[in-house]
């Protein structure tokens, strides 16, 4: 798998980072570094989350009650903060997923109007 060149990387849309974080944590508790890596891997290296955005986002979500954090130990035996979804976080994820599909649908209809093809 060839790495995409830098100019092929996509800047995250405002607000989508929160959704991606919630989605990533659906598979289970993870620390900040792991979340960043997961998003990168899942997007085939297209999306790279800056730590400068990721950590404030994690704390923002925690403050709103969608995530909960606990200190734990990583596979390599390092102390790290593990985040997991709360019930409210799961509800929020499904709301964001709906909104996202609506958005994608709407943008798709604008970019490819029915009948123009």
């Amino acid at each position: 798998m060839a790495k995409p060149r830098d100019d092929q990387r996509i800047d995250l849309l405002q607000g989508t980072l929160d959704m991606l974080v919630l989605r990533t944590l659906q598979w289970g508790p993870q620390h900040g570094h792991g979340i960043g890596q997961a998003i990168r891997a899942q997007s085939d290296d297209l999306l790279r989350v800056e730590t400068g955005s990721l950590y404030p986002a994690l704390h923002r979500l925690e403050k709103r009650g969608w995530l909960k954090a606990e200190w734990g130990v990583s596979e390599a035996n390092q102390r790290a903060k593990y985040y997991h979804l709360t019930a409210a976080g799961k509800a929020q994820l499904s709301r964001e997923r709906d909104r996202w599909s609506q958005l994608v649908g709407a943008i798709g209809r604008i970019m490819n109007p029915a009948g123009s093809e």
């Binding site: 900040g32 730590t51 400068g52 954090a69 390092q78 903060k81």
Partner: protein, 873 residues
């Protein structure tokens, strides 16, 4: 749970550790792995800050830092007690004075009246600019004319003040009572706290006499006794039943004890009152009709009044130029106090500016001493914001303490200022310290603190030069700033001082002005005519009274009259027109007007008024004998410059004195006595013998001893003759005049207080600047002493530095003051410029005080220990 700073650090460290381990696993060297992980992370503190920002708001951070700084400030200020005391007291004076004045201004000028819907309540005034009469009030026929035609006013209320002898509540005494029509309380929008108020049902000559007590009278004199309702009282010749108590409200137009219906006053039912168009004694209030504006009402009143004037040319002379005006009641009530209160507010503001600039000077001096400390902090990476915050914390502590003390001070100050303002507006009686004082105090302190924090300049962060500073270094720029502020204080204080000097000079002039009367040994008393006695019986009463009082030990002479000089001023209306045989007014000249006075024989002896020509009144000038008068010298000379006034006949031409003129022969001419004005002016006086008019009410007793010692004896004599007879307001003429001068004295006193405060603060400021400049130049003085300067020359040098500051300040104050007065004169007619004498006195006082205060730092300069000074750096 909210994560703390440690959590953020740990989390970041964990992230980096995982990243490094991952790279080592992929084959990086540990060093390369560390660098790569760090590079990937980006700027670490920024991320950490962002994480913090999620949990802590920026504002909270700033506040906690400021709190930290304030604790530091408290600790460091503990070592500068002198500074703290000076700053706190200076600010407390400035803030306290402002808070007090502001409370009074708010209470008197801004607060709405309690009257229902007070914005639609107006006061109607009739004036005659041509006669110099501001407020003529209205006559009953005039009110009837207005009532019947005006449509923009929904209802009228009328109020007139009458003196009654009140029997039935407390001691028999003469009171001022309001006499009102039934619509008065409805128009005023006032409610009773007990019983009922007067209504239309109480109007007319057939109604029963009823009266309402004012709240003040009920609470202060009657202990709020509810049993007073239904009580019967005697008001002069009539009786009335007390039916209610009025709610607390501004007593306007007169502060009376009771308010009664028309029927209680026989005068109000008489022909003079009901039909006399020029018999004006009623004040008029009205409520705007729904939808009508004040402008509409003014216009309508103006045109109806003009029509009324042209319909009755005999009652309205063209020269009088009668006018009608309508003002909202609140403006009418507050207008006398407005000028003086705004003046006080300005004075308090100036004192506050002086206080602030003085404190700024002290803080500036302190910050120069701290320059080294601030420079070190700047070099260690403290941002300019952090340094500012340090300064702000310190000035907040200082100003906060000043504000607390100022607000405590404000309470007694409000009492003083309110009692002062009560001379001008009855509303001031209700003023109390309220929450607004706290807000004003806090606001002023905050303003001062912020200003003060920005006065000192921060050390420049470029280069280590500023770090080298060890002792106190006074740069020319700082020195200029200090001097500039001190000069500004002197200039402002000088303006206040000159203003106070002007008032004091005017007061001294007033007090020293001659009156042409015996002042100290004459006791004046109010003894109204006994109830139900008229004409000859009244004359008998006063003659017997004078005879019996004259027999008391120590009494030299007794006279009766109708007018206590100055105290009764204005109560007998404007001067009355008259004519004299042999004197023809020039074409278009208004007829002469004189003041009608009634006196007994010996009146002029008792008051020591010299007889210029002719004779005095005697016991033979009685009812039935030839009608005679005595006139004042000015009247005689103005009408007959060649001195032929004696034995001519004069008569009053006002219709009030009857259609047929009653000629009276001028039998005497006496020296002028101006009994209306405290500043003596030529007076047109016409004295009548009291036996011919049968009216008196005032008794004058001349004694060789202490006049007040006679009061009980005189009271006893009067009570023996008539048990229910009031005897009131005994006072020597000197004290009567002093009482009339009280507002002037209070004006001078309060403004002088402000000026004194300003003087003190600014002189301390000058001394402070000198002290600082001396302490910064210790080494210089040491060198000068070492090379042979005399201590004396150093002392004179420092003193002259102070004198220069004051001289420049005084000059700037004089120029600025005149410019401001010129500006103010364009808007206010009453602005006067001080004469040369008070100005010079103020300048001399300023200079003297400043030189005295400069002596302390100057003495210090002259006593510098040479060796120590040279070793000090």
């Amino acid at each position: 749970m909210r994560p703390d700073d440690h959590d953020f650090d740990e989390e970041i460290r964990g992230h980096l550790a995982i990243g490094i381990q991952e790279r080592i696993d992929r084959g990086f060297s540990p060093e390369a792995a560390r660098l790569a992980a760090l590079r990937e992370f980006g700027y670490l503190p920024a991320t950490r800050d962002e994480m913090r920002r999620v949990w802590h708001s920026r504002w909270l951070d700033a506040m906690s830092a400021l709190g930290q700084d304030m604790r530091v400030a408290l600790r460091s200020l503990r070592h500068a007690k002198g500074l703290v005391i000076t700053v706190v007291i200076t600010l407390a004076l400035g803030i306290g004075a402002n808070a007090a004045i502001f409370s009074v201004v708010r209470g008197v000028l801004l607060r709405p009246l309690v009257n229902r819907d007070e914005a639609r309540l107006i006061y109607i005034r009739q004036s005659a600019p041509g006669l110099g009469a501001d407020n003529l009030t209205f006559s009953v026929p005039e009110i009837a004319d207005l009532k019947s035609r005006v449509t923009s006013l929904a209802a009228f209320g009328d109020f007139s003040t009458v003196s009654f002898t009140l029997i039935g509540i407390g001691e028999p005494r003469v009171i001022q009572a309001g006499v009102v029509g039934g619509s008065f309380f409805e128009v005023m929008g006032l409610r009773p706290v007990l019983g009922r108020l007067l209504t239309e049902g109480d109007d007319g000559p057939a109604a029963a006499g009823v009266a309402v007590l004012t709240h003040r009278f009920w609470t202060t004199s009657l202990n709020s006794d509810p049993a007073v309702i239904g009580k019967s009282i005697t008001l002069g010749p009539r009786t009335a039943t007390i039916v209610g108590v009025l709610e607390p409200s501004v007593p306007y137009p007169a502060d009376t004890e009771i308010i009664a219906n028309i029927v209680t006053s026989p005068h109000h039912l008489g022909a003079t009152m009901v039909t006399g168009r020029t018999h004006r004694m009623t004040e008029l209030f009205a409520r705007l009709a729904p939808g009508a504006t004040l402008e509409q009402a003014r216009a309508e009143l103006g045109s109806i009044h003009a029509a009324m004037v042209s319909a009755h040319p005999d009652s309205y002379s063209a020269k009088a130029g009668m006018q009608i005006t309508a003002t909202p009641l609140r403006d009418q009530i507050t207008s006398p106090a407005r000028t003086i209160l705004l003046l006080l507010l300005a004075a308090a503001g100036v004192v506050f500016i002086i206080a602030c600039s003085n404190v700024a000077n002290l803080i500036l001096a302190r910050s120069v001493r701290r320059e080294g400390e601030l420079a070190v902090r700047a070099a260690l990476g403290a941002s300019r914001g952090a340094l500012r915050r340090t300064l702000l914390a310190e000035s907040l502590v200082l100003c906060g303490a000043g504000a607390v003390l100022g607000v405590i001070l404000a309470r007694p100050l409000v009492a003083i200022v309110a009692s002062f303002a009560a001379r001008f507006s009855v509303r001031a009686l209700e003023v109390a310290v309220d929450g607004s004082v706290l807000w004003v105090g806090a606001g002023l302190a905050m303003a001062a603190a912020v200003v003060l924090a920005y006065v000192p300049r921060l050390p420049s962060t470029d280069g280590p030069a500023s770090l080298a500073a060890t002792g106190v270094r006074l740069t020319p720029a700082t020195s200029r700033r200090l001097r500039l502020l001190a000069t500004a204080q002197i200039a402002l204080s000088f303006v206040l001082l000159a203003g106070a000097g002007m008032l004091v000079a005017a007061l001294i002039n007033l007090q020293a002005a001659g009156t042409g009367l015996e002042m100290r040994q004459v006791l004046a008393l109010d003894v109204p005519a006994p109830l139900g006695e008229y004409g000859a019986r009244v004359v008998d009463f006063y003659q017997e009274l004078a005879r019996r009082v004259g027999e008391l030990p120590g009494v030299e002479a007794v006279a009766v009259g109708n007018f206590v000089p100055w105290r009764d001023a204005g109560s007998f209306g404007p001067a009355v027109p008259f004519a004299v045989e042999g004197y023809t007014p020039a074409d278009g000249e208004e007829s002469q007007r004189g003041r009608l006075r009634i006196v007994s024989p010996r009146f002029f002896d008792v008051l020591n008024v010299p007889l210029v020509a002719g004779r005095q009144f005697t016991e033979d000038d009685r009812r039935g004998s030839e009608l005679v008068v005595i006139v004042s010298q000015t009247l005689a000379q103005r009408l007959f410059p060649n001195g032929e006034a004696l034995n001519r006949k004069m008569w009053w031409t006002d219709p009030y004195f009857g259609k047929q003129p009653l000629p009276r022969r001028i039998v005497g001419i006496v020296a002028d006595v101006d009994d209306e004005n405290v500043v003596r002016a030529p007076a047109m006086m016409v004295y009548h013998p009291f036996q011919q008019l049968g009216v008196a009410g005032r008794v004058f007793v001349r004694t060789g001893g202490d006049p007040y010692a006679l009061v009980p004896a005189v009271k006893r004599v009067v009570r023996e003759m008539s048990p229910n007879q009031p005897v009131e307001r005994p006072a020597t003429l000197e004290d009567v005049r002093a009482e009339v001068l009280t507002p002037d004295r209070l004006n001078a006193f309060v403004i002088s207080g402000f000026a004194g405060m300003a003087l003190l603060i600014s002189v301390v400021g000058v001394a402070g600047v000198l002290a600082f400049s001396v302490s910064a130049r210790i080494r210089e003085f040491g060198v000068r002493l070492a090379i042979g300067s005399s201590p004396r020359s150093l002392l004179v040098g420092v003193l002259s530095e102070g004198a220069v500051i004051v001289a420049i300040g005084v000059a700037a104050g004089a120029v600025g003051g005149y410019a401001f007065a010129g500006l103010a004169a364009a808007f206010l007619s009453q602005v006067q410029l001080p004469g040369a004498l008070p100005l010079a006195a103020a300048a001399a006082l300023m200079l003297g005080a400043a030189v005295l205060a400069s002596l302390i730092p100057a003495a210090r300069a002259s006593r510098v220990d040479v060796l120590q000074a040279l070793r000090s750096e």
